[in-house]
């Protein structure tokens, strides 16, 4: 299945739930509503034509106006890759855990929770992961994070 065929298939299979975004890149990027995340993920994994059985990565982006959670998945039997994102508000960001679909999500979601402050619902082991055990200074990957010890790179004229 080529990228174009994948786009066509997803457009017919998920006409409402997945929105194709204009990125200017060859690989498609979709947007999924936070409420439909689990439903879409389960369908992507279980669909016989797609079989997205491998979670490559979960990333988070702080655009200073909103948080974007980017999921990269792959299909090992069908040799496909797909990216989609979920847009969350910056304050009170909360998302469903996808670890019941892809167990690999466990650590990525812990990292996301710790560094970006995204609350992950129904996660079975949400505790400190990368930061020091006694860390109490908030979520350092947020753009507005600051600390007396934190030195920003000086502006270059």
């Amino acid at each position: 299945m080529t990228t174009e065929q994948l786009k066509d298939y997803i457009a017919s299979r998920f006409p409402v739930m997945m929105t194709l975004l204009e990125t200017g890149r060859r690989e498609p990027m979709y947007e999924v509503k936070a409420g439909q995340l689990l439903e879409v993920c389960r369908a992507l994994r279980d669909d016989e034509t797609l079989k997205f059985n491998y979670l490559c990565n979960i990333g988070a982006v702080d655009t200073q106006e909103r948080l974007e959670i980017v999921y990269s998945i792959a299909s090992v039997p069908n040799r496909l890759r797909l990216d989609f994102k979920v847009v969350l508000p910056r304050e009170g960001a909360s998302i469903e855990s996808v670890q019941e679909i892809w167990p690999a999500a466990n650590w990525y979601e812990r990292e996301m929770w710790e560094l970006y402050g995204v609350d992950v619902k129904a996660h079975d082991n949400l505790k400190r992961f990368l930061l020091p055990d006694d860390w109490d200074k908030g979520h350092p990957m947020r753009k507005d994070w600051d600390d007396p010890d934190f030195v920003r790179f000086p502006e270059i004229e």
């Binding site: 990368l130 930061l131 055990d133 350092p140 994070w145 934190f150 920003r152």
Partner: protein
């Protein structure tokens, strides 16, 4: 290279006998300075240079420096590489586990002032002298083996120059 300087500093051979008198201080510090066993503590790319220095081309052993895998057997920590805030308590703990007299070499920019991670990093400790007392700083990113060896020679000299039980005041 002048490695062996004035073996026992004040020594006197008693005529007709095989006895040499000298001061405890000079012999003790001579022995300490010539057998610095260092703890294997490589946390980043400086450790590659440290390994290179330890291998046959540069041959750290000829300075009497051998790596030990346990802090209990070490005289020296060569902190080779970035120390993160999460790693810092571990470094302190390893330092505390070493028997005195103990010495620390800060190898590379990261251990001196955070190096390339000084800006925009929430995770990297800006200099290990916040955590443990440092005897020798070796700048570089990473320093070449020659720099590391020179730093170790300077440390040897420093040990030779100290007074008896100086380290207790540290």
């Amino acid at each position: 290279m002048g490695l062996i300087k004035k073996l026992p500093v004040y020594s006197e051979k008693i005529p007709g006998g095989a006895i040499v008198t000298t001061s405890l201080e000079s012999v003790l510090h001579f022995a300490q300075a010539k057998s610095l066993w260092y703890l294997l503590f490589g946390t980043a790319c400086c450790a590659i240079e440290l390994m290179c220095t330890g291998a046959s081309r540069y041959d750290f052993d000829r300075l009497g420096m051998m790596f030990r895998a346990s802090p209990r057997q070490s005289d020296l920590i060569i902190a080779a590489g970035t120390i993160t805030k999460k790693m810092a308590p571990r470094l302190r703990r390893l330092y505390d586990q070493m028997a005195e007299p103990r010495y620390v070499i800060a190898m590379g920019g990261c251990t001196i002032k955070g190096g390339p991670f000084y800006y925009d990093s929430y995770a990297v400790e800006k200099g290990i002298d916040h955590i443990v007392p440092v005897d020798i700083y070796i700048p570089g990113c990473p320093p070449r083996p020659e720099s590391l060896m020179e730093g170790c020679l300077h440390l040897s000299e420093k040990i030779r120059r100290q007074k008896l039980l100086d380290w207790q005041e540290k």
